[in-house]
């Protein structure tokens, strides 16, 4: 929205508590998830939007294909090592405020796949707000997680959730960091020294402090 940034900067300590509850209410009532189906849990995530479960009742049914338009990333399924950089990149592309729901045992901890291919928990790549157990969780559990996230949103302050500065946002997405698939060029291309997903977002830095 942007308005809260201006107000928070102009009047750092005044006005923000009441503003918080207004903006948080607006934010929590329409959480737009990014379409990020990975594995089995994605089917249950789709199921949560259908007529029987109807996630729309809680304002979170507008699945956006573009991360630029999304507020919540629902990591639904196991994250492989090949997918991890992509996932981080999509997270970086989402504008603040952004939240992450780790759906299912695989996203939360690697689940039954304790092996070379799977990242043992998506929280090694992105900060997670709500974890859902289950393999796969039922759609009702996803709805519960969304409601828990709404509670969490209500307790936050607008000052914690500001947009990333523009230069940082640009830095976060380096073109050509996905490996090129064509066999002839793949061998010529050397991978960049530091991958873009190593840049911690402001949100994360705050958390680590």
């Amino acid at each position: 929205m942007g308005l809260e940034n201006v107000i928070a900067e102009a009047l750092p300590e005044v006005l923000t508590t009441r503003l918080d509850s207004l903006i948080n209410w607006a934010r929590k009532s329409s959480l737009w998830p990014a379409t990020f189906g990975l594995a089995c849990c994605a089917i249950e995530m789709m199921n949560a939007t259908t007529s029987r479960n109807d996630l729309a009742r809680f304002g979170a049914e507008v699945f956006r294909a573009s991360p630029r338009q999304a507020d919540v990333m629902i990591v639904s399924g196991r994250v492989s090592r090949k997918m991890a950089p992509v996932l981080r990149r999509i997270y970086d592309q989402m504008p603040e405020p952004k939240w992450v729901i780790s759906m299912g045992a695989c996203a939360t901890s690697g689940g039954v796949f304790d092996n070379y291919a799977i990242v043992q928990g998506v929280d090694k790549i992105v900060p997670v707000d709500v974890y859902i157990p289950g393999c796969p969780p039922r759609p009702e559990m996803l709805i519960h997680a969304v409601m828990m996230l709404q509670d969490k949103v209500m307790k936050e302050s607008v000052r914690d959730r500001r947009d990333i500065p523009e230069e940082e946002a640009r830095e976060a997405v380096v073109p050509g960091t996905l490996p090129i698939t064509d066999g002839s060029t793949a061998r010529q291309n050397t991978l960049p020294e530091s991958r873009p997903y190593t840049i911690a977002s402001r949100h994360e830095r705050r958390r680590s402090n």
């Binding site: 594995a39 089995c40 994605a42 259908t50 029987r52 997918m83 992509v86 039954v112 090129i180």
Partner: protein, 404 residues
């Protein structure tokens, strides 16, 4: 200005413009059914070359099988093709049974057939909903999931799990059907043909859908066989090949059903094949339900099959026996088998190599989606970029199975 003063980066203007453009589609794309990535070389809107890039969901399952006992492996198969978990269970347990030489009682066979066909319908419903959604028809998705929910409820009633049932075990079933299951199942089966007619009404007569699918993604029968296609993709090219007929298992030879084929080999043909297959699966499930007789559900193989739960509560021996099988597993004779079944997406083959002992030496899955997807570059050459999603949808791929 003399040419010597022009900085080198401006000389590029003189080069003729390239007419081809390369775009990356996925791995996060709503129409790639998961995390498939395509590298498309486009000439205007026409696809010159499509290169699939897979492995974004590589789970290392085949490695994991080598570290798990045979009965633990069933859990992993659920997560492979997560739209058709019972099919995966069946292929895996039947390969194990082949190695052990077990004979499965009639009731267990019938229940396996019943559940596999229900699961096939469920898998096709997800395909139909997402395929229509990709092409732009949103309503169908909700109707499909409404019907699918009923199937999931049936599976949940029997196994306790919606998506990951692990219901079939080496030597039989996890447990018998719950009381009243037959009635619930009958209720669903009675209503289902009407639902299929509803889907036809929603989609098949839709002119936009027809124009988006007819004549798109063409593949001939010879090419389809050469590319190893299986299941509805092969039958959509007019080859009447079905593992249930060719190499019957679980008593499929006793059921009366047709193998639907369509001659055209395009997206529409594959659509029609699956729509007709749902009716055939319904037919088989109805027959299986009528065939259901009381009887044992586990093979007579005490070294492999877990003892009856009721006996465990009253007999110490049964409890010890249960503990031994669970803790130590069972020894499987040395050898190697390949067991194919007809999953919802085509021939699902399981290769198990055993060196004796409770853990397999190598487990490999011949995943139908993996093979079907490999023909995508050939099918999509010369098509419009918007048709790519239609072709991907018609292949009915599941990335969990492709990447394993």
């Amino acid at each position: 200005m003399s040419s010597a003063t022009i900085p080198p980066q401006f000389e590029i203007v003189d080069r003729p413009l390239d007419t081809q453009m390369t775009i990356s589609m996925g791995p996060q794309h709503p129409s790639t059914h998961g995390v498939l990535r395509l590298e498309l070389v486009l000439d205007g809107e026409m696809v010159v070359k499509a290169t699939p890039d897979i492995g974004y969901l590589h789970t290392g399952m085949e490695k994991l099988f080598e570290y798990k006992k045979y009965q633990q492996g069933i859990v992993i198969t659920d997560r492979m093709d997560y739209l058709n978990p019972l099919g995966n269970n069946l292929a895996y347990v039947m390969a194990g049974e082949k190695l052990l030489g077990l004979e499965i009682p009639e009731r267990a066979q019938v229940i396996r057939v019943l559940f596999c066909e229900l699961q096939r319908i469920g898998s096709h419903l997800v395909w139909l909903g997402t395929h229509a959604l990709d092409i732009g028809a949103m309503t169908v998705f909700f109707y499909c999931f409404r019907e699918r929910e009923k199937i999931l409820n049936l599976i949940e009633a029997a196994s306790g799990g919606r998506l990951t049932p692990s219901y079939f075990r080496i030597g039989g079933l996890m447990m018998d059907l719950p009381a009243g299951f037959e009635n619930r199942c009958k209720q669903f089966l009675d209503g289902f043909p009407g639902a299929v007619d509803e889907f036809h009404k929603l989609l098949s007569g839709n002119k936009i859908f027809q124009r988006r699918t007819q004549g798109i993604g063409y593949i001939t029968a010879e090419d389809a066989i050469d590319w190893g296609l299986a299941g509805p993709c092969l039958r959509g090219s007019g080859v009447a090949l079905d593992v249930r007929r060719a190499n019957p298992y679980s008593g499929y030879e006793k059921y009366d059903f047709e193998i639907p084929t369509e001659p055209d080999g395009d997206v529409w043909s594959r659509y029609m094949v699956r729509m007709r297959e749902m009716k055939e699966s319904h037919k088989i499930a109805t027959q299986a339900l009528a065939r259901l007789r009381p009887g044992p559900i586990k093979a007579d193989a005490p070294k492999v099959v877990l003892p009856d739960r009721q006996a465990m509560k009253s007999h110490m021996d049964a409890l010890i026996h249960h503990f031994l099988i669970v803790a130590e597993g069972f020894d499987v004779p040395e050898g190697e088998v390949y067991h194919p079944i007809e999953a919802s997406k085509g021939e699902l083959g399981v290769y198990i190599k055993s060196n004796g002992g409770p853990k397999p030496a190598r487990v490999h899955f011949r995943a139908p989606s993996f093979v079907n997807l490999s023909a995508l570059p050939m099918m999509s050459e010369g098509e419009m970029v918007a048709d790519i999603v239609a072709i991907i949808g018609s292949l009915d791929i599941v990335l969990g199975e492709i990447d394993r």
